[in-house]
């Protein structure tokens, strides 16, 4: 899931660098205005609302619309629905715009040095406002002790693990979901048991 988020312009647009400083509920960031500046009639002024998506201003937004979008995000149904947001890779998005909307973070780590380093950075999510539930899913497990080792090194509680599965690479090459490509294979099986663990964990609270 990748949505644009309303943010407020803080400083006049830097038309030379094509950037603008915006405030997304206290999170101030410099974003590119290049896409907006192709139409010079729409240069936003400080105080105006704009839609920001992954570092780019996509468009302007009027005051009522911006407030209504932010209100709807606050009102995302939590009862009776399961909302799964697939955030961009890395460590930026969970802490920035999306952190406050999630109750549970699944940190997916593979047993490589770079991925473990990333997992360790994401372990800080536990300290965020609202104290979200943060669990570890170890992916592409090849050795018996991979999952435990990653849990130990990231400091995250292990919620589930998924074995290395060549069928995933084949499904990705064909552009089909692994659930359709190999419904009874090791990956769907592992993810099903992850869902059960997650449900048990949620219900125990």
């Amino acid at each position: 899931m990748c949505l644009g988020i309303p943010a407020r312009v803080v400083e006049p647009v830097d038309t030379d660098q094509q950037t603008v400083l915006v405030d997304n509920r206290g999170h101030v960031q410099r974003v590119s205005a290049a896409l907006l500046l192709t139409d010079s009639h729409t240069v936003p002024q400080p105080g105006d609302w704009v839609v920001v998506h992954l570092g780019f201003v996509l468009s302007r937004m009027d005051d009522a619309e911006a407030r209504s979008v932010l209100a709807s995000l606050d009102d995302l149904p939590a009862e009776g629905w399961s909302i799964v947001g697939d955030l961009p890779g890395g460590t930026k998005q969970p802490f920035m715009t999306w952190g406050r909307y999630a109750e549970t973070f699944l940190v997916v780590v593979e047993p490589t040095a770079a991925s473990i380093l990333t997992g360790r950075r994401l372990a800080r999510l536990t300290g965020m406002e609202g104290a979200p539930r943060v669990g570890l899913v170890v992916n592409r497990v090849r050795e018996a002790d991979d999952a435990e080792r990653v849990a130990h090194r990231t400091g995250l509680p292990l919620l589930g693990s998924v074995p290395f599965d060549p069928a995933v690479a084949t499904a990705d090459r064909r552009g089909v979901a692994i659930l359709d490509h190999d419904p009874t294979g090791p990956t769907p099986e592992a993810v099903s048991s992850l869902v059960e663990s997650l449900r048990a964990e949620v219900e125990s609270k």
């Binding site: 950037t19 570092g55 040095a113 770079a114 990333t118």
Partner: protein
């Protein structure tokens, strides 16, 4: 020479950038490797190890926390947020940070703008960018010498790569080189050529030696110099060096 490495997440951008940087440095060129990812890991692929890779992030975090001064120039960014890697490569972490100071050379400009401002002359800079197409859009108007688009033979990766390649051509960003990673068989080659009939991709075979190096936190160039995948990337680097002298 300025080289930008772009592509979808997980396609092997960082591994590719690391091998390019070290091979170009081995040829005696002053080489700077820029880690532009907001989750910087290039140090590990360069062979610097986890400790130094993490220390570089800590320096960046200290600036965010207000415990460290901001850098006053692009050169100071390279010095303060950098470390010396093997073969004479200088690594600098220049990823975007939270709460940037507008116009500040160390945080108020994008990695793309920093790449534009760096004066390389005889030297080489290899910039490992954030996943996705944002970089290619942000680089528009500041051409580089070579744009390396990295793909793997999956439907999604090829689609992102195709869009990146088209954008590079439309905006005349630089010479386009396509690297196809994790190529398993002739079906994979067919998938790649079906999408990129107009280009001659550098084919990098799927190679367990790379997986093993990544699991051990080692540079593939050190852990598996003779593996087929590393040899393919070394070949690309040597080709670039010949094609763009100086």
């Amino acid at each position: 020479m300025k080289i930008a490495v772009v592509g979808k997440g997980g396609s092997g951008k960082t591994t590719t950038a690391a091998v390019l940087a070290r091979v170009l440095a081995r040829q005696g060129r002053r080489t700077l490797a820029l880690d532009c990812d907001s989750n910087p890991n290039l140090g590990i692929s360069l062979g610097l190890g986890e400790e130094i890779t993490e220390r570089l992030i800590a320096v960046r975090d200290a600036v965010i926390a207000g415990e460290e001064q901001h850098a006053a120039s692009a050169d100071e960014v390279v010095q303060r947020f950098g470390a010396d890697a093997l073969d004479g490569v200088r690594l600098a972490v220049v990823s975007a940070i939270e709460h940037p100071h507008p116009g500040c050379p160390c945080c108020g400009i994008s990695p793309e703008q920093l790449l534009r401002e760096l004066v390389m002359e005889e030297g080489v800079v290899v910039a490992d960018f954030e996943a996705g197409l944002g970089t290619v859009m942000r680089l528009a108007g500041c051409p580089v010498d070579v744009v390396v688009v990295v793909v793997e033979p999956t439907a999604k990766s090829l689609e992102v790569g195709r869009r990146a390649a088209d954008l590079v051509a439309e905006t005349s960003l630089g010479r386009l080189v396509l690297v196809a990673n994790r190529v398993r068989d002739k079906d994979d080659v067919a998938r790649i050529t079906a999408v990129f009939a107009d280009l001659e991709p550098v084919l990098v075979p799927d190679d367990e030696a790379i997986v093993e190096a990544e699991r051990n936190g080692l540079a593939p160039l050190d852990a598996a110099p003779d593996s087929a995948a590393v040899r393919a990337l070394v070949g690309l680097a040597e080709g670039l060096s010949v094609a763009v002298p100086g």
